[in-house]
Symmetry: C2
Subunit: 354 residues, 2 copies
């Protein structure tokens, strides 16, 4: 007697509801998915039977299998899952994604990523209708896994490689623009930025070095800052790049303090995030530096903490970008030409332009 699986189930099936209601299973199905398709009387009998049996509605997995749609959007975040709730930028982006999901009645599934090589398998095991991939590195195997599923997918500010659409701003141009402000009348500028690759090593580079930078966001912003510096006639070697392993205020604070106490203290720090910038500000304040006279500081993203600190920063609407990504990944929109804008917000941590 094959197929014996003793699934000791408590959950009633549609067939049982149909039997109790005295109708066919199809009528029950229609009562749930297309109520207009059944008579009011039949609908009432189905509802009564369902209530009596404690039937919670069509089994989601069975429905998904048959319909070919799940009703859920997958989100892939690099490295660690909890990052979604810890990094302010990721959170703002995801708030935009969730706005669209809520409006459409679509679930939002965070794919469990740990940084292990088996993560790719997890992408293919999760039941979703599309993927939004938060900025990652060019060589991330997860991108292949996402592409393999054949589901619609969008990368936010990520690599152009996989043939998947990419949504985001022109980071290089934006960095060049805020670099103008950050580096005005600077002689020993430093870029305080994100890791180069998934190795996340902490290091200090100079602008004449050209190590491979696998994170497109890091690469583009660094290139933009360097564009501005060298474009103003300075030598690349005098621009330094302090690579922070993670985007956290204490990282920025520690690295900035180290530099400010070093032999060539920076007189301008352009950070790739407001968190790193606020860390630098904290270090500078502790050391008694006058801002912006002795040190200019710029951030990136104009997060909630930037305005109270008077931080000059680069504003972009991550929330809108998240919403855009969600719409594309759900097939609600095909417009992937980014069209997202940014602007330099000048406050009090930078010296006025001459």
């Amino acid at each position: 007697m094959p197929g014996v699986d003793d699934n000791s189930r408590a959950r009633p099936t549609m067939r049982e509801v149909a039997r109790v209601a005295g109708v066919s299973p199809m009528t029950v199905s229609y009562a749930y998915s297309q109520p207009a398709r059944v008579s009011a009387e039949a609908a009432a009998r189905v509802l009564a039977a369902a209530r009596q049996l404690g039937y919670p509605g069509p089994h989601p997995a069975a429905r998904s299998l048959r319909r070919g749609r799940v009703g859920t959007l997958g989100v892939v975040l690099g490295e660690r899952l909890s990052y979604a709730f810890e990094d302010p930028q990721a959170a703002r982006f995801l708030a935009g994604v969730s706005d669209v999901c809520a409006a459409e009645g679509i679930g939002l599934t965070l794919v469990p990523i740990t940084g292990a090589p088996t993560d790719a398998r997890r992408v293919t095991q999760v039941a979703v209708d599309g993927f939004v991939v938060w900025t990652t590195s060019d060589d991330d195997p997860i991108l292949d896994a996402v592409a393999d599923t054949g589901l619609p997918a969008v990368i936010h500010a990520g690599p152009q490689t996989g043939g998947l659409p990419v949504i985001g701003i022109d980071d290089r141009a934006a960095a060049a623009a805020i670099g103008e402000v950050a580096f005005a009348s600077a002689r020993r500028p430093v870029v305080l930025g994100f890791p180069l690759d998934r190795g996340r090593a902490r290091r200090l580079l100079t602008g004449d070095e050209d190590p491979p930078i696998r994170f497109p966001v890091t690469r583009h912003r660094w290139e933009g800052f360097r564009d501005t510096w060298t474009g103003a006639g300075h030598r690349a070697v005098h621009l330094r790049f302090a690579v922070c392993p993670v985007n956290h205020i204490t990282e920025g604070e520690t690295f900035a303090r180290e530099l400010l106490q070093g032999t060539e203290p920076p007189d301008a720090i352009a950070a790739m995030s407001d968190e790193l910038a606020l860390g630098a500000l904290r270090a500078a304040t502790d050391l008694g530096l006058r801002i912006p006279d002795e040190l200019s500081v710029t951030g990136w993203d104009d997060s909630d903490t930037a305005a109270p600190a008077g931080l000059t920063t680069l504003a972009q609407s991550l929330r809108e970008q998240g919403a855009h990504c969600a719409r594309v990944a759900l097939g609600l929109s095909t417009a992937t030409s980014t069209g997202h804008t940014w602007q330099v917000v000048i406050r009090t941590t930078t010296r006025p332009a001459r």
Copy 2:
């Protein structure tokens, strides 16, 4: 010819992979789910065929249906989905949930909630293996929907009603404890707190009123604060409760400013969250009040912003509570006796006890 559904599919099936590999479908299935079950040679042939066809692995919905498990944990947040990424406390809690999910390789699905009455339906339509429900009101119909699914579920700091296990701290005792600090030598104390019910009306109560409070968290904390006040021999009517519609710093600031400029300016404000407390601090500072001499302020949760502000607050580990909820909802643990602790963290926004 019934059952014609033209699913124009690009995705290959297991059967096709089996045919190309020259094995039976079951061998393919085992190659994916129990690699030790097949010979190395067969596994290699399956893998080669899969690669050739672009087979991304077993179809998640089909696998879920057959196995009876989805590999995903559902999280239900009251009101609005984006709340998950906007409210710092929710984010910390969810970080704990996601820690467990990541370690177990389980997806984290946020149920799309909008506040509409049809939300309950959405709970039953999402494919998950269990639910974690973030603090909600006693009469929230979502609780019934969650219970109806028959899946394991846990409520965080929510109502005891539905027979579902509740995890959290003893809010009433905790409020009483921090109330001691907040109200020391106070004559016109105010509790700055969360809404009473899902209506979220803004209002000002006095301690002798007893309106129905549907949010257990609000109710317990309010009762705790009032316990302390009346326990010290004061009249309940002299304790006021400023009900803020949403947990946001600007709400706290606005309401606090209004009170501080009113006819009976408070000399102590005990807030139900650090956000509201920081808003109150901002208002007080703007008005030139000396903290804590002219006004004591306490918060709740000891979030990252509390320490820099010197805020006296009630610390609890939301992250651990989130992890605990996840473990229970996933059936990894049955210990639902809460066992979570809290402690009063005294900083500089309160007067020292006599």
